[in-house]
């Protein structure tokens, strides 16, 4: 490829989420470049599920993700620090409830 530094020629980035056999939710496991969603799925299969990691894959365009600004970390998250009572660990969950 002669134009590798031309960003316009690069394939878009995709975020890959894989659900493991035991897992309930899809977990983020990495990202890759692909021309479209179908190809991203193929590639995710080859890159991220070689060791039987998953039974289901999601791919999402990285551009579709809106992220918080790391610089806002203190403003966003510090205020929660001294409010431990928000954790539900003070309650006993009956066995019949199962997974929460």
């Amino acid at each position: 490829m002669s134009q590798t530094d031309n960003v316009a020629n690069e394939w878009p980035l995709w975020e890959v989420f894989v659900r493991s056999k035991q897992g309930i939710e899809h977990k983020h496991c990495g990202s890759l470049h692909a021309a479209d969603a179908q190809q991203a799925l193929h590639m995710a299969r080859d890159v991220y599920t070689r060791r039987q990691e998953g039974v289901s894959i999601w791919v999402i365009p990285s551009a579709a993700i809106t992220a918080s600004d790391p610089g806002d970390k203190d403003t966003l998250f510090e205020p929660a620090k001294d409010k431990v009572y928000r954790h539900p660990t003070f309650f006993v969950i009956p066995d019949e409830v199962g997974h929460m």
């Binding site: 470049h33 193929h42 590639m43 080859d46 070689r50």
Partner: protein, 255 residues
């Protein structure tokens, strides 16, 4: 009734030789993801070859093992299709050492996986239980190989002028070698009976994908290769030398 060991050996050699060829991309893939995809493909094929060689050894019961069959036979004893031993270049390449052409890799994987889809589909119902089990396992793998190859072939054929030209050159170069799939051979006729059912299914599949990719099929040629009879191209001995030299230099080595 068990399948003939010659036929199982032919299947094993097909898998091993293409597995070895595709493994040449390991560390040299056009992109990281394809590097892994081809390595996965090779490992599937080499895994199939191992099971098939073990079955041959069992059928022959003459002291041969998967290792002796893979590493200590010479070129005239290999029964793979010629298509599978060709390097990843078209006839237009200045030498076999020329840079590998991914369109050739993908086109060959497409033509062969489309064929093996039909073969494994049929063999999973074979009376030879061991062969049927190998077929059932391999069918799942080859379905993915086929998907992967089709995905790329359509992108190449329906892509840029350059990708289309390369894919079309690969199709023109490789298609004549697929005629060997259908050459008269008592060993495969004993398994499939009339190969025309396989042939029709394969043709329909190939035509369908070619149309989708906007690629043309060449007309049939008169010369039909004979790798399955042990008569190979000039590329085979180099492939075997690379694959077998270590095992021959250190017989019985393990790690």
């Amino acid at each position: 009734m068990n399948a003939s060991s010659e036929f199982v050996l032919h299947l094993a050699d097909n898998a091993l030789i293409l597995g070895q060829r595709n493994a040449e991309w390991c560390g040299h893939g056009p992109i990281l993801e394809e590097d892994l995809a081809l390595a996965n493909n090779s490992l599937d094929l080499i895994g199939q070859a191992r099971l098939l060689y073990q079955h041959v050894a069992q059928l022959r019961n003459n002291g041969s093992t998967e290792d002796s069959l893979a590493y200590f036979r010479d070129q005239q004893d290999f029964l793979n299709f010629t298509l599978l031993e060709l390097p990843h270049t078209t006839a237009l390449a200045p030498s076999a050492r020329a840079e590998r052409d991914y369109a050739v890799t993908i086109t060959r994987n497409f033509l062969f996986s489309a064929y093996m889809l039909q073969v494994w589909e049929q063999l999973q119902h074979h009376a030879d239980a061991q062969l049927a089990a190998i077929a059932a396992k391999s069918l799942k793998e080859v379905r993915y190989h086929f998907q992967h190859a089709v995905d790329w072939l359509v992108r190449f054929g329906d892509g840029t002028d350059e990708s289309h030209a390369k894919a079309q050159a690969a199709v023109h170069f490789l298609m004549p070698y697929t005629q060997e799939f259908w050459s008269e051979w008592p060993v495969s006729q004993a398994i499939f009976g009339d190969v025309n059912t396989l042939r029709t299914a394969w043709h329909d599949l190939v035509h369908q994908v070619m149309a989708q990719a906007g690629l043309q099929l060449p007309t049939a040629v008169a010369y039909i290769t004979q790798g399955h009879l042990g008569v190979h191209s000039e590329h085979m001995s180099y492939l075997l030398a690379e694959m077998q030299s270590l095992a021959r230099q250190h017989p019985g080595a393990t790690w």
